[in-house]
Amino acid sequence: MNLIEAVIAAFKPRPSTREHRGAATTTTTEVLSRNAERLMRTKGVMSVGVGRTPEGEPAIVIGTDRMDAEAAEALPGEIEGIPVIRHQIGHVEAQDVR
């Protein structure tokens, strides 16, 4: 990028980070709703939801039981361009006194 392009880029109006993130989260929700049922049928998957990557970008989070490495590898790294995060959460139980 030369100096002139850099100056133009710096003054170009951009959506605020907040607006950008809001819109992106909506898209992630739409992508998840199309794929949630299929993902929940995968053995070892306990939950799916919309969260964020370490960089703060919207992501689909797949909560898993203690999966073997092969099953974990079979999960997609991204869905329709949305990053996927795998999070081993174990079994989710109703929380009365057990």
């Binding site: 919309v50 964020r52 989710v92």
Partner: protein, 331 residues
């Protein structure tokens, strides 16, 4: 990044060494407070009986400024006796204390809500209605049976309404579909037909809430406050990244952050029963068995959710708007 998860790992590694120091009485995860103002930074909170100047402490008793790169914060709480209180009998009973249907162990009294001006107790179906196995009018005890509550001395309320939980593999519980089938079958019998029409849906709709209400025997048996937190200041919508707090029977007052929204999750109800919930929100680990029914509040103490399930690493929460709508209640 699951910051809370990283913090929890760091804390579990350092917990023993922190508790070995002089007057540390509790450790947990919370927001660092600087100059009396809560910052946005999560920290390892060390509760001490009293704050002392560094010069008065031996080197072994000084709390390090950080643990595995996570900041620490020292809070003077005095000797901890508060947790025991959550399982005690309390009149009036606030949110955050032990409660339960007379045939369960115990869960948490979420908070006082209202329908047509009448005060009601809000908690989970599996706390107040024994996971669908109860009838309106059944006895509700505070504290719950496992904490010593008995029918003779600790009756506080009777079951009002509960939203049935549809377990996986169950046939339709839709009253309208069953009603249609019953009417059709009546006509079929009139016509001498042996063909029976069954109410069947392809797949039961996902659950939205595990919620129930109970009517206190008298309005002055319950308190509008949440124990250790304060009064509820209205209602809000849970959003990604929102800091939240709860007061519960087992782990007392804990804080967390909404890490996921639009969550679909399979939840175990014991005896191999599983129920699927959709449109839930998820926080990091901030609860254990017995905390079910806790009200989830935002930083301004507005109610945003109803805690009902969790694992070692997560807490699952109903959106409060779904619970309020289904039970026709409000703050």
């Amino acid at each position: 990044m699951d910051t809370t998860g990283g913090l929890a790992v760091a804390l579990s590694r350092a917990r023993e060494s922190l508790h070995d120091r002089g007057n540390v009485v509790a450790t947990g995860i919370g927001y660092k407070v600087t100059g009396g103002v809560r910052t946005a930074d999560l920290a390892i909170i060390c509760s001490v009986t009293e704050k002392q100047p560094l010069t008065a402490l031996s080197a072994d008793d000084v709390i390090p400024p950080d643990v595995d790169g996570f900041p620490t914060d020292v809070v003077a709480t005095g000797p901890i006796t508060a947790l025991a209180v959550h399982v005690d009998r309390m009149r009036p009973a606030p949110g955050g204390v032990s409660i339960g249907h007379h045939r369960i162990t115990a869960g948490t009294l979420g908070c006082v809500v209202h329908r047509s001006g009448e005060p009601l107790i809000l908690s989970n179906n599996h706390v107040l209605a024994n996971s669908n196995d109860a009838l309106p009018g059944d006895a509700i005890l505070q504290p719950g049976p496992i904490d010593g509550g008995t029918m003779e001395t600790d009756l506080i309320a009777t079951l009002d309404r509960f939203i049935p939980i549809v377990m996986a593999g169950e046939s339709s519980t839709c009253a309208f579909a069953n009603g249609v089938a019953a009417v059709a079958n009546w006509f079929a019998r009139l016509g001498g037909s042996n063909a029976r029409l069954l109410a069947v849906t392809e797949r039961a709709a996902d659950n939205l809430v595990d919620a129930a209400t109970a009517v206190p025997l008298s309005p002055d048996l319950v308190s509008a406050t949440v124990y250790g937190v304060g009064d509820i200041a209205g209602q809000a919508r849970a959003e990604l990244g929102m800091p939240v707090v709860k007061s519960g029977r087992t782990t007392g007052v804990t804080v967390g952050e909404i890490l996921q929204v639009d969550v679909t999750v399979d939840v175990g109800y014991g005896a191999g029963q599983v129920a699927r919930f959709s449109d839930q929100v998820m926080a990091g680990a901030m609860s254990q068995g017995g905390d079910s029914g806790s009200a989830i509040l935002d930083a301004e103490h507005r109610i945003v959710g109803l805690l009902f399930a969790g694992s070692e690493r997560t807490t699952v929460i109903n959106r409060i708007e779904h619970a309020f709508g289904a039970l026709e209640i409000g703050v």
